[in-house]
Amino acid sequence: MWGMRNRRDFLRIAGVTTAGGSAALLAACGDDDEGQAGGRGTDTESDRSDAAVLNAALDLEHLAVAAYTAGAGLLRGEARELGGQLLAHEREHVAGLTRAISDLGGAPNETKAAEEYARMFAGLRDQEDVLRFALDLSNTAVAAYIAALPRLASPSLRQTAVAIMSSEAQHISVLLGLLGEPQVPEAFVTGGEA
């Protein structure tokens, strides 16, 4: 399994370990820690803050697209079929977040160069490596969206975020099933397993 240091090393390289991903989202929102959703600052300030939060999430989604693309050749049978579907979802997440950031007047982050991602995926040797890497990415994404929710001023953007987060939670169950593990291990899905 993995045939490399460990999965966290790769996520760390990407700057998206669970804590790091969440921290990046929080940093994107400044020091506001009042614990209340919405009602912060002017519309322009709120839009700018929301765009920063969504851009941090967009980075994760770009990484997920790159990971599923890089790993596709190692998947077989049902895993290949479902992997293709999850990749399509990740692309839709990228498109949705890109559109939302643009609507806020922000500049959506671009995907990284292929060679930057390739360095992260060099240790993927077989199907299980790919599934476990994807599992960690989805857990990281769930944790990041959980952290982001109270920071988003716009109720409709909170809904967008939670709709993507629930999609990532479904990916977790699909991937756990492919790995032969319990598919719904926790009553409260926080991404903390990553």
Partner: protein
């Protein structure tokens, strides 16, 4: 077969949540009342899920029942912190099979999706999201049990279309 829930479904369940969500913000109750109303509706739905899984005899039903009970317990504690009164547990329910469970889980997802628009408290927003994601995962297992696509949508809303 697809199971699409709408806010109208939630209203039909007697949750009162849909009416709350449609209310103009200018007429909305104070923040704590909004939070309490959402929690009361969600508790009723979780209790309904517990009763449904008790009756269903589905393979993973015991786990999903226990998880729904965990949700209800957490939400009841949160509601009581707001001095609210939890709804009484529902009467035993007749569940026709996995398709009915899918419909119930889809309604749960839609309820928590809508709640993101109404809840004002940061901790409650995150709790609701964690529960919503768990119900979304239940849907994966239920769909696989009847040979459906386990994760058909990139944006999981419970069928709510804004």
């Amino acid at each position: 077969m697809r199971h699409r829930a709408t806010r109208r479904d939630a209203l039909a369940l007697g949750l009162g949540l849909a009416a709350l969500l449609r209310a103009p913000r200018a007429l909305a109750q104070p923040e704590e009342d909004d939070n309490a109303a959402v929690l009361a509706g969600a508790i009723a739905l979780e209790q309904r899920a517990v009763a449904a899984y008790d009756a269903a005899g589905f393979r993973a039903g015991e786990l999903f029942r226990d998880q729904s009970q965990e949700h209800a317990d957490e939400l009841i504690a949160a509601l009581e912190e707001l001095d609210g009164t939890p709804p009484p547990p529902p009467a035993p329910t007749d569940v026709g099979g996995v398709a009915d469970l899918i419909e119930l889980e889809t309604r749960a997802v839609a309820t928590y999706y809508d709640a993101q628009r109404t809840l004002q408290d940061a901790r409650l927003l995150q709790t609701a999201a964690g529960i919503m994601a768990n119900h979304a995962q239940h849907l994966v297992v239920l769909r696989q049990a009847i040979g459906e696509n386990p994760s058909p949508d990139a944006f999981v809303t419970g069928g709510v279309v804004e």
